[in-house]
Structure formats: C-alpha cells, structure tokens
Symmetry: C2
Subunit: 372 residues, 2 copies
Amino acid sequence: MKNPLNRRDVLIGMAAVPAGAAAIAAALNQPTSRADRKVGYAIVGLGSYALNNIIPQLQRCRLSRLTALVSGDPVKAKRVAAEHGVPERSIYSYGSFDRIRENPDVDVVYIILPNSMHAEYTIRAAKAGKHVLCEKPMAVSVAECEAMIAACRQAGRKLMIGYRSHFEPHNLHAMRLQREKAVGRTRFVQSEHGFPIGDPAQWRLKRKLAGGGSLMDIGIYSVQALRYTSGEEPLSVTARESTNRSDPRFREVEDMIDWTFAFPSGAIGHGFSSYSSGHNHIRLTGDGGWIDLEPATSYSGQRMRVRRGAGEEQVTPPPGPAINQFVGQLDHMAECVLTGRDPVVSGEEGLRDMRIIEAIYRSARDGQTVRL
Amino acid sequence: MKNPLNRRDVLIGMAAVPAGAAAIAAALNQPTSRADRKVGYAIVGLGSYALNNIIPQLQRCRLSRLTALVSGDPVKAKRVAAEHGVPERSIYSYGSFDRIRENPDVDVVYIILPNSMHAEYTIRAAKAGKHVLCEKPMAVSVAECEAMIAACRQAGRKLMIGYRSHFEPHNLHAMRLQREKAVGRTRFVQSEHGFPIGDPAQWRLKRKLAGGGSLMDIGIYSVQALRYTSGEEPLSVTARESTNRSDPRFREVEDMIDWTFAFPSGAIGHGFSSYSSGHNHIRLTGDGGWIDLEPATSYSGQRMRVRRGAGEEQVTPPPGPAINQFVGQLDHMAECVLTGRDPVVSGEEGLRDMRIIEAIYRSARDGQTVRL
C-alpha cells in the first residue's frame, strides 16, 4: 500500500502534455509505419500498484499504451494480457526479460518491482535498448542509482523516476504559488507521510528487498515534497529514528524517522516518515501565510488550502487543467521519448533523493548533523 | 502580541471551578468579614495582554476580582483603576510595589511583565506575603525558576504559571482523548507556534528583557503542547536554529528554532517556533488516527478536528462546559488560594519547561542531542 489515505480512483483522464502528431512521428526513436503510433510500455511487476493504478490509466493516455507485461506469475500475466489486448508473445518472465530487446512495440520499460530489483531491471532494460520509467525509490543505494544513470546514458535511453506528484495539479499549483511568492518568503516547510503497515511478512518489511523501512517507501514523499515545494536543496540534515524492534513488523527495517533540513535561504524543512501511523501532509509557510495540502500525495482526493494574512481559502480543484497524475506521468515519459527532451524527474532527481536518504540514515545512526 | 491568529474576544465567561461559598470562607488565607469575598488580584504590568485579556475577564470570574494595579505609568494606572473600580490607594508603582504587603484586598499578584522581570517580582510578591500567578515563560533561566519556587515555598504562598491552555476546552478535550487512547497509541506529536514580529525596538527582541527570542515567547506553547497532549516528558532533545542576523529584528534573539523530543513510549515530538511566520497548531497522531487543533492556543476561536480510521470529524465546540480559558485560569488560582490545593500548572511546571528550553538552546548551539 503506497498511500492509504485515499484509494478511490477518481480519474479525470486528460493528457498532461499535448503534443502534435507530426512532432511525435518525427521524433519517434524506433521506425514505425503509422504517424499516430503511441509509445509502447512494458510493465514489469504485476502488483497492486501496477494493476490498480498504472495499467488502467494507460488506456486513458494520449501518447502511451500498454504493449507488454513482465511477471513471475504466468497465469496472472496471461489474464491481464487478455484483458488489455496484449498479445501472448509480449508476455515475459524475469528469465526471458532480456528478449524484450526484440520487441519493437516496447519503447519504455516501467519497473514496478521491490526496491532492491530496480537497479538490475533498469540496467537490463537499458541494455535491451529500452527507455526506463522506474518507481521510487529509484534503488536502494547511491551506488546503484549511479550505475542506473550510467547504463541509460551509455545506451542513449531516457531514465525517469515515478514521482507522480510532479504531475498532480494541487502539488503543481503549490510549486507555482511558492515560485510566485504567494505566501511571501519561505520560512518553514513540513511534510509527514506514513501509514500503519500490516502483514509482517510483506516485502516492504524485508531489508533485502526494500533496502530500508518507512523512509524508503513512504518517507521519500516527504523528502521530495520538502524539495519541490521549497524549490531548494538541503545543505544539511539532522535526523532521529524511533523503532520498536520487538514489534514483529520492525525486526529488519525502521518504523519512524524524523529529520530537519537546513535550506540555503535560511528556511527550515521538517520531514517525518512512519510505518505505524497515518500521515499524508505538506505545508509550506512563508512570512505572509501558508499553502497546505492534505491529503497531499494520495492517488486522488487531494485537498489544498491557502492562508494569506487572516484569510483562508480552499483551493480544490486548483486552477488549470484537471490532469490525472498517472496519465500525466505516463504521457510525459512518452513525450520525452518522442521529442528527445529530458524528463522533469530524471534519474539525477532520484539520485539526489537517494543521497539525502542515505544522509538521513547516517545522521539518525550517528546522532549528528550530516552535511550534504 | 502573544498569539496573532485570532484576537477576537469571543468570551463565554463561565467559571472553571465551582466552589461553595462556605468552603471559600473557611479556606480564605486572610481574614475577612464577608463570607462571599472574592480573591483579590493585583495586576503587575498594564500592557496589552493585561488590558485586553486579563482585566476584562476578572469581571466575569466567580472567585476572582481586580483589587490593585502596579504600573510604571501613573496616568494609565489611574485611568484603568477608575474604569474598574480600583481605589487610588491600591495603585502601586514599581518603586512602591513592596507596600502591597499592607493591602488586605490583595491575595494574588499576577505578573505580566517582560520575562526578565518575572523572578524579581515573584520573589518580592512572595516576600510581601502574596500568592503569585506569573506569566510564561516563568523566567529567563532555570536558576531563576528555582529561586522563585524557593521564595514562594518559604513564604507559604502558591505559585502558578499562566499556562492558559490548561483551562481551554479544546486543549483539555485533546488531553482527555489522548488519555482515553481515542486515536490509539501515540506515535507523533507536533506543534508549531510563531508570528511575524514587527517593531525591532520592542522588548521581546531585546535579550536583556526577553531572555531569548521566539522560543521563549511563543515557542513555549509548542514545548508545553508536546508535553500536555502526549502526557509524556522528553528524554532528549535535538534542535536547530535558523536566524538571519542581518535582519534588524534579530540582532539579539533567535528567529526560528526547530526541535525533536524523544519520548519514553517511543513516540516522537516535533516542535517549531518562529518570529518570521505565522503558526498556531498542535497535532497528536496515534496508530488509529489524529487529533488536530488549529488555531490551537489562540485567545479564542480554537478549531479541533479528529480523524479515526477513514472518518474525519469537526469537534468544535468540544463536549463539556464552555469555559473561557482566562476566567478558568484566574478562578483556578483563586480556588487554590481558597482551598489550599496546588495549581495544576505550578512553578514546578514552569521550571520543567525552562529546563527543556535551556536544553533546546544548548542542542541548537552545539549541534548535538541533549539528554534531559
């Protein structure tokens, strides 16, 4: 469960990035006979996020379509393929994955696997000549992130990380308001993310598969939010962890982590991550008011309030087109493939978060502020 | 300005603590001919908080009344005295303050002076045989707090600190809900307090008078809130400061301080204090939901929301009697004087906060976690 606060799928289904058919055809990396061909996605990993959020949204995209599936469960893969018009020849197992190179219908490989498998499949996809959209966290270490970036660069392929909030209208509006100084000079940014995790046997609670605990899985939303709402990069981080190691869920990974960023402007950022309580919140406070999102990064149902001086205003929905964040993300990657531009949330962006996450863990472990 | 978010005085005016007239008469410390005599208050310092919040509320109290004024401004004192029926003989200057000993109409001295004057006037009041209600922060150092407690103990007089939130129904209801585990086991408590401070010449920005910056003045609400909502005492604190020393307001005192408490239960507390942005918020998150107050500690207009599972509920007004926090505080002190019981927010409570405040400053200065 990535974001528990709101699991309704209130979908709007408008493409984030309009692009002319001619530009698309001109820029297509792989030869095609039809100018209106959409960018083909192979989905790697058929867990609930892929099945409930990504695959249904591909059908609403303007520039993207589902063309292949990669799964360790052939029965499930066959069923999903039949439901979505994917030919049986475009179903792969993890063993046969590398043969995806020979599939001209696949432009992008979208990796929705446990964190520790991201690096391997990104690198294999790049070697197979495919562009990569990889779920967050990008990997489980800075070293892996760097190897993934190098592999995609070497193959001349795009690498994007699944930071869907960059395509979600409330979050985009918050970034815009901050840039316009709508609530004045930024002073304090806070973001808390968490959910009470259940089954102790799930992969998220195994260090080998997840690479870490709540920070890797849900806290990364707070790390990102502090950066994208403030528009600043932290100079240092001070962190503390609190985990009850006798709780069967937390034998291998952390429960709660709390950290503070020092930003170059003098603003303070505070982040929090939990596997034992529910949080989904971003607030940026300036010297003239605040911008508040809660839920902030749910699949849908975001709510936004803005306070300026004494007045408080609901800003839901925010101004601008009603973009579905999943569609926006998928079509943005498609547009990057078609036009050659770089994704707004590239591998470098994922690497930045991983550097910060490693610093948070180090600061919590050593009890000292870590410079970035 | 203590709390800028809501300065409307929506006053309800019900006594917090009913007490029988006979019990009052029996317990009165000073002899009186009338069984229904109310406890007499001398107000020390006629700033806006005294004039706008305390003096008007004394008229609504069941057990308390205004009987004397202490001010450095004789014209102002005369005007206020005339408005509130205080005889001219009961007006004191700071020079003549000690003569208050001879005034049988004064039971309690309520000190509403700049922080650095709290210790001196508390000790002088105790030596004059009076009970003391002192505004927060109790003083500017642990040593001063200890001296104040000793002076009141030696004189056999009560000492209470002006933590009005302990008499405010929303805050009381939050404490009750936490004790009843209404949102489960406490995991994270957060509280932010601040306001953009104005005139650089005011006493709050002078170290000698204020003893510190935003933490002393408004951040103490966050310190208190983390303790009274969680019902726990911090084991350690990790803090960071951010102050632009070229801002004319912050030549002598800090702007923003951010800190984290480690609580014995494993819960984390996060506090924030600012003189450059507006905050007035408390949230306690348990493993089953959260309790949110915003504004939390304003003079009036508190709002409370409770989330349990997927459901969110407005809890304004909370259940129970509609107590005005100022009246509740004044009559609680009166009841303590009349019955001999100890105030719920005694000098020891103020001392605890001051120990924590000193630890926050030390941690921010040294960049290390400080054990308490």
